[in-house]
């Protein structure tokens, strides 16, 4: 049921809408075909980032890929949380880890569990959406997750133009050209969390540089 819904919403409707509205062009989309759990990382400027990645995932991976969403924003009410879980296939996590002495779910462990189950993650290391075509500092979470799962690769994606179509704080979409450049899967085996984060950042910067 959920699988069928995701297929119709993303692979059919959203893919068509994006194509008509912004002529979304995928460069090296073959890199998205990775069987097995992986962590898809991209730059984040718009809600469309999640949607357009989901819309272009191969079918067998669509229902197995879980975007990571901030629990305080997308889980404001139980209704919104249920919607996000169902229609976005998201995993809602708290923005920060519990401090010492506190109890509560650990976002890093939640993400690791998804990967151990054999599913994939889609996350934006910049955290919140930034201004169109600009990068924010990458956060450590992705490094901490990948450090614990040494056999799982990350797939970097650079998206251009989506932030202009639907930027933060403006609900009206305006057509612009958009591009997604997908990098090859990279296995960060044996590196520390910090090294992994800077590797992720560097990979996405390199994809961006290929445009300029």
């Amino acid at each position: 049921m959920k699988k069928a819904t995701l297929f119709i919403v993303y692979s059919v409707i959203m893919r068509t809408v994006l194509k008509l509205f912004s002529g979304t062009k995928l460069i090296h989309k073959e890199n998205l075909v990775y069987r097995g759990p992986c962590v898809i990382v991209g730059n984040h400027n718009s809600h469309l980032d999640t949607i357009s990645i989901m819309a272009h995932l191969p079918l067998r991976q669509l229902a197995k890929t879980h975007p990571i969403a901030a629990g305080d924003y997308f889980g404001k009410s139980p209704f919104k949380a249920a919607l996000t879980r169902f229609f976005v296939n998201a995993v809602l996590i708290p923005r920060s880890r519990p401090k010492e002495g506190e109890t509560g779910p650990d976002p890093i462990q939640m993400m690791v569990q998804v990967l151990e189950k054999g599913d994939s993650l889609l996350l934006f290391p910049e955290g919140s959406r930034g201004e169109p075509e600009k990068f924010q500092k990458f956060k450590r979470g992705v490094g901490l997750v990948l450090e614990q799962c040494p056999d799982i690769p990350f797939i970097p994606i650079y998206m251009k133009g989506l932030g202009k179509i639907l930027p933060k704080g403006d609900p009206v979409p305006v057509p612009f050209d958009s591009y997604m450049r997908i990098g090859t899967p990279i296995f960060p085996k044996g590196r520390t969390a910090e090294e992994i984060v800077s590797e992720v950042e560097q990979q996405i910067y390199m994809l961006k540089a290929e445009f300029d």
Binding site: S22, G161, K164, V174, P175, F176, D177
Partner: protein, 321 residues
């Protein structure tokens, strides 16, 4: 409203059939030529030419299918071309400020309106809607946004983009709305086919002549590939081709020569104007929608200017009674 294949009328119309066969004949010839060149001299650098030919196949097929089918489809197809061209130019333009996002919506909304005027053959509104009403409305909307920094630039950039991608291109559609003339069978479709074919061949001829004999550059800072040899060779060849294709039009021999010369020169102007815009934003091609050609705009830059020039010459010569 029923959409129909107008195939019978199309097959009966020998003129268009000849030109369409000619288009695909040229493509077959080019494909074979580059294929053989690749076999004879495997080291020859013709990858780009091959890619271009492949794209031409696709564009020619889409164009021919859209022209042959019901006029409604032709209008929608040409309107979609305007939409993609406007989106492309708005996406590369660094002169579009963040505040102009919302104004762009007005520009996009102008597309269906302009094409409806063309479809319903409302010549007066078709001609005035963008040059007068949109040129009034866009600056006013910009003023209402209340950000004055660089507002003058936006006031001129946005309407200019509309003129190029919507007003200019929509003349192709209005050709289909022209009334029938006595003794001229090919009609609007013939004229559409003629101007598109002549314009695109002009691009190809200027490119080819320039590659083969080009020495003296016309405007090296804007378009280093544009040479006097390419320009002159191009307009002459285009005019010769147009002269022999005049059975698609109501033109006499002399008229065909003058009109083809104007189209060829205008095509060159459109090409260099868009080149200059691209230089301004530091870009080689305006997008990468069409492999080997760059973006939509790179292919229709000349068409955006030749279509209205051709249209108004023809309109004033034959349809203004």
């Amino acid at each position: 409203m029923i959409l129909k294949f107008d195939l019978q009328a199309f097959v009966e119309n020998k003129e268009t059939l000849i030109v369409i066969s000619l288009i695909f004949g040229i493509l077959v010839f080019a494909t074979l030529l580059f294929w053989i060149m690749g076999l004879v001299r495997p080291n020859a650098n013709i990858g780009e030419l091959k890619m271009r030919t492949k794209s031409w196949w696709m564009m020619a097929t889409i164009f021919v299918v859209a022209t042959v089918l019901d006029p409604v489809i032709s209008f929608v197809a040409i309107g979609a071309l305007s939409f993609m061209a406007l989106r492309e130019i708005a996406s590369i333009s660094k002169n579009v400020r963040e505040e102009d996002r919302k104004i762009l919506i007005w520009c996009y909304l102008a597309i269906p309106v302009q094409y409806l005027f063309a479809y319903y053959k409302h010549y007066g509104l078709f001609l005035t809607f963008i040059p007068i009403f949109m040129h009034l409305w866009i600056p006013f909307m910009l003023v209402l946004r209340g950000v004055t920094e660089n507002i003058g630039r936006s006031m001129s950039v946005l309407p200019t983009q509309l003129m190029l991608t919507v007003f200019g291109v929509s003349h192709l559609a209005f050709l289909l709305s022209l009334p029938e003339l006595e003794g001229f069978k090919a009609g609007g479709r013939g004229l559409l086919l003629f101007v598109v074919f002549i314009t695109e061949m002009n691009d190809v001829f200027q490119f080819t002549w320039g590659k083969m004999f080009g020495r003296y550059k016309i405007i090296p800072k804007i378009s280093p590939n544009k040479t006097w040899e390419g320009f002159i060779g191009g307009i002459i060849t285009t005019t010769v081709v147009g002269y022999f294709l005049r059975f698609l039009t109501p033109f006499s021999g002399m008229e065909a020569i003058i009109i083809c010369l104007s189209v060829a020169i205008t095509g060159f102007i459109g090409d260099v104007v868009v080149s200059a815009i691209k230089r301004d934003v530091g870009m080689k091609d305006t997008g990468n929608t069409i492999p080997g050609h760059g973006g939509i705009l790179d292919r229709i830059d000349s068409l955006a200017l030749t279509a209205p020039v051709f249209f108004h010459i023809v309109y004033n010569l034959y349809y203004l009674k």
